[in-house]
C-alpha cells in the first residue's frame, strides 16, 4: 500500500515536472525560420519603407513621450498589472538599441525576446508584430538606425507582484503566443491579403479592438469583436460586419476615409482612435487604406462582446435630455441631429453615439476634443468640453437622448456610467 502511494506521488511529481518543462519550452521557444531578408534594394528606399512601416505600426505612440525626442521612449503605458514605459529605441549605444543587429531586432519583433534573450512583456505587441515579414522588419530596423540617437535611459516597468517576475512570462507565452509570419491566403485577392497583413501585423488593431481576458491576452484577436480598452476606459467598437455596432453599414471607402482623414460619412475619430489617425493611419497610402477597408468588410458579423443592455430611457428622461440638447448641442449638431458635414459630425446614425456601450459618447461630451488634424482636414473644428457645466445626471440625460432619437435606438446612459467615465478620464 505504502509503495503504491509513493509510486503515485512520484508519478505526479514527474508529470508536474514534465508539464512545467513543456510550458517553459512552449513559452520560450523561438520561430527560427527568419524568412527572406530584405531584398538588396537601395538603402534609401529601405529606410523610406521602414519610415512608412513605423507610422503604420504607430511605434511613436509608445516610444515617444509627449513633447519628448522621437523614439527615445518614456511614454507610460498603464495596464491592469502596473505601468510599463516605452523604451528608448533610438540608435544610442548605451541607452537605446545602437548595439542591436538586424537579427536582434527580428528576435524582438518576431519572437518577443530582447537582445539578451530575456522575454519581453506583451505590452509590446509582438503578438501581432510576429506576423510581419523579415523584409519589413529589416526595413524598420534600417529606418530606426537613421533616427537621431538620444541618451535617455529606459524606465523599468513598475508592475505588481507576481507580474514583475519576468520568467513567468514563459507560461503566458505558452498559452497565448504563437510566433509566425502571416501567410497569404491564395484563395483571396492581393488587396485582401495586404489588408489582412496590415490589420493583423503592423497595425495591431486587435490590441484595442479585441476583448482581453484576465491575464491581458486578446481573445480571438482575428475576429476583432471590440471591447473596452483596459485602463483607458474607452470602448473600441467591433470591426466586424455587425450592422449596428460594427462596420456593416460602412463601405471599404468609408473605412479608408476614416483612417486617412479622421472623418467619414458616419463618424469622426475620437479618443484613442483620434491619436491613431493622428500618429499613424493618416499616413497610409490610398492603396493600403483601401486594402484595410476591403479586408475588414470581409469579416463576418459577430455580435459585439459587450452587448447592449437594451434598456431605453423613460419618456420623461428623454424630454429632459431633449431640453439639454436644444440648449447645449443643437447649435452645431442641429435639431435634426444631422450636423454640418466635416465640421460638426452627424449624431443620427453615428456609430460612436449608438455603440453598445455609451462610454465614448459620454467621454466626448465630458471632455470635448478636436478631430485629428490630417491632410484632408488640416484645421479641424473643436467640440467644447461640457464636463464642467453638466452634472453626471445631465450628461446621462443628454447622451440617452442622442442615443434614442432620429432613428437611433441604443440603450440609455446612466449617471453611474458618467461618473465612471469622469474617473477614467482623470486617472491617466
Amino acid at each position: 500500500m505504502k509503495t503504491l502511494i509513493l509510486r503515485i506521488l512520484l508519478a505526479l511529481v514527474v508529470l508536474c515536472a514534465i508539464a512545467v518543462g513543456a510550458l517553459y519550452w512552449l513559452g520560450t521557444r523561438s520561430d527560427d525560420g527568419t524568412g527572406p531578408a530584405a531584398a538588396q534594394s537601395e538603402p534609401a528606399a529601405l529606410v523610406e519603407r521602414g519610415r512608412y512601416l513605423a507610422r503604420a505600426g504607430n511605434c511613436m505612440a509608445c516610444h515617444t513621450a509627449r513633447g519628448g525626442p522621437a523614439y527615445a521612449g518614456g511614454t507610460p503605458i498603464p495596464t491592469p498589472f502596473g505601468t510599463l514605459y516605452g523604451p528608448n529605441i533610438t540608435p544610442d549605444a548605451r541607452t537605446g538599441i545602437g548595439t542591436w543587429s538586424a537579427d536582434d531586432f527580428w528576435q524582438a519583433l518576431h519572437n518577443g525576446k530582447s537582445r539578451d534573450g530575456s522575454l519581453l512583456y506583451p505590452a509590446f505587441p509582438y503578438t501581432e508584430y510576429t506576423r510581419m515579414t523579415r523584409a519589413d522588419a529589416d526595413a524598420l530596423y534600417a529606418f530606426l538606425r537613421t533616427v537621431e540617437p538620444v541618451s535617455q535611459p529606459s524606465r523599468p516597468p513598475e508592475l505588481r507582484f507576481p507580474y514583475d517576475q519576468r520568467p513567468l512570462l514563459a507560461a503566458w507565452r505558452a498559452l497565448y503566443f504563437r510566433p509566425g509570419v502571416q501567410q497569404d491566403d491564395p484563395g483571396q485577392s492581393l488587396q485582401w491579403n495586404r489588408g489582412r497583413y496590415l490589420v493583423n501585423g503592423p497595425g495591431h488593431c486587435a490590441a484595442c479592438h479585441a476583448p482581453r481576458n484576465s491575464l491581458g491576452a486578446s481573445i480571438d484577436p482575428d475576429a476583432l469583436a471590440g471591447g473596452t480598452i483596459p485602463m483607458l476606459g474607452w470602448y473600441a467598437p467591433p470591426l466586424s460586419g455587425d450592422a449596428e455596432a460594427g462596420l456593416g453599414k460602412w463601405s471599404a471607402q468609408d473605412i479608408a476615409a476614416l483612417l486617412q482623414s479622421g472623418t467619414a460619412a458616419h463618424s469622426a475619430a475620437s479618443g484613442p482612435m483620434a491619436e491613431v489617425v493622428q500618429g499613424s493611419s493618416q499616413y497610409l497610402s490610398d492603396e493600403d487604406a483601401l486594402a484595410i477597408g476591403t479586408y475588414l468588410k470581409s469579416l463576418p458579423a459577430t455580435r459585439p462582446a459587450a452587448p447592449d443592455s437594451g434598456a431605453a430611457a423613460s419618456p420623461a428622461a428623454l424630454q429632459l435630455g431633449g431640453k439639454l440638447y436644444a440648449q447645449h448641442c443643437a447649435q452645431c449638431h442641429r435639431d435634426d441631429g444631422r450636423g454640418a458635414d466635416q465640421a460638426w459630425p452627424a449624431l443620427a446614425g453615428n456609430p460612436t453615439v449608438t455603440a453598445p456601450s455609451p462610454v465614448n459618447a459620454i467621454r466626448v461630451v465630458l471632455d470635448g476634443g478636436f478631430a485629428p488634424a490630417t491632410a484632408a482636414n488640416p484645421r479641424p473644428h473643436g467640440m467644447p468640453p461640457f464636463g464642467q457645466v453638466l452634472s453626471d445626471n445631465d450628461v446621462a440625460l443628454v447622451v440617452s437622448y442622442i442615443r434614442h432619437n432620429w432613428g437611433n435606438a441604443a440603450s440609455a446612459a446612466t449617471p453611474l456610467e458618467v461618473k465612471r467615465a469622469r474617473d477614467a478620464a482623470t486617472a491617466n
Binding site: R66, W344, G368, F370, A373, T426
Partner: protein, 254 residues
C-alpha cells in the same frame, strides 16, 4: 505616476517652510475655479468653416472671442501676442504646462494650426471690463505695487514692468500683458512656475523670478495687478521697447 511630475525632493529642499503656505494659496485658487461661460450662452451664431466655429472648444471656457468671463479663472486670450499664445498651446500639448482639459484638447493638433489659432485670438480686440475691487488690504496692495513697478534689487527681483512693458501690456513677440487677469489665475500661474507645473523655453526667466518670490510676494503682486484698471489702447509694445534684465528663451522661440 506621470513622467512630468515635479521632482518632489528637489522642491522640498528649495522651499522649506514657505511651501505649505503657497500650497494653501494654490489650493484656494483651484477651489475658486468657477463654471465657465459656455459658447451656447454667447449671442453669436456659429457658421461652420469660420475660425470662430473652429475654436468653439476654446471660447466655451475663455469666452466669446477669448474675452474671458467676468467670473473667470479662465484667462483672457484676446489681444495677447501671437507668439505668446502659440507657445502656451505648444507647452500644453507637449506637457510643459499642466492642465488636463487643455492637454486633452490639443493632443492631436499640429504646430501650424496652433499658430493659426494663436493668431486668431491675438487679433481679437474687445473692450476690457472694469477692474474688480481690490481683494487685499492697502498695505498688501502697496507691497504688490512696489514689486510690480520697482522690483526688489536686493533680492535680484526685477520689476514686472522691466519685461512686461512700462504699461504692463506685454512686449512683442512673446511677452504677455499682465492686466485684466483674475487674481486667482495670476497666483496659480506664478505658483505653477515655482512648482515646475508650468515651464517655458530655456532659459526660463520667469521660473527664475518665481523661484525668488515668497508666497506673500505672490499674493501681494497678484492682488495689485488684478485690481489695476486697463486703459485703452492696451496693446503689446514693440519688441525693441525694452532691454530685458535676463535672457528669456521664449522671446527667441519659434
Amino acid at each position: 505616476m506621470s513622467i512630468s511630475d515635479p521632482p518632489r525632493g528637489a522642491v522640498r529642499r528649495k522651499l522649506p517652510a514657505a511651501a505649505a503656505a503657497c500650497t494653501a494659496w494654490l489650493a484656494l485658487a483651484w477651489l475658486a475655479v468657477p463654471a465657465p461661460v459656455h459658447a451656447a450662452d454667447a449671442p453669436s451664431e456659429l457658421q461652420p468653416g469660420t475660425m470662430a466655429a473652429r475654436v468653439a472648444a476654446c471660447t466655451a471656457c475663455h469666452g466669446d472671442q477669448g474675452r474671458a468671463g467676468t467670473d473667470g479663472y479662465y484667462p483672457r486670450l484676446a489681444g495677447k501676442p501671437q507668439e505668446y499664445l502659440y507657445h502656451q498651446l505648444l507647452n500644453f500639448r507637449d506637457d510643459r504646462r499642466q492642465y488636463r482639459p487643455m492637454q486633452h484638447l490639443l493632443a492631436n493638433l499640429p504646430d501650424a494650426y496652433l499658430y493659426e489659432i494663436a493668431g486668431y485670438f491675438a487679433g481679437q480686440h474687445v473692450p476690457y471690463p472694469p477692474a474688480p475691487a481690490p481683494a487685499a488690504p492697502a498695505a498688501v496692495l502697496d507691497q504688490g505695487r512696489v514689486l510690480a513697478l520697482q522690483g526688489d534689487p536686493a533680492r535680484g527681483l526685477p520689476a514686472c514692468t522691466a519685461c512686461h512693458g512700462a504699461s504692463l501690456a506685454g512686449v512683442q513677440p512673446a511677452i504677455p500683458g499682465l492686466l485684466g487677469l483674475p487674481r486667482d489665475y495670476l497666483v496659480s500661474q506664478i505658483g505653477g512656475w515655482k512648482y515646475d507645473r508650468r515651464r517655458a523655453a530655456a532659459p526660463d526667466c520667469m521660473a527664475e523670478v518665481a523661484n525668488r518670490l515668497t508666497p506673500a510676494d505672490i499674493g501681494a503682486v497678484s492682488a495689485w495687478l488684478a485690481a489695476q484698471p486697463v486703459t485703452e489702447p492696451y496693446a503689446p509694445e514693440p519688441a525693441d521697447s525694452v532691454t530685458l534684465p535676463a535672457e528669456c528663451g521664449s522671446q527667441a522661440q519659434r
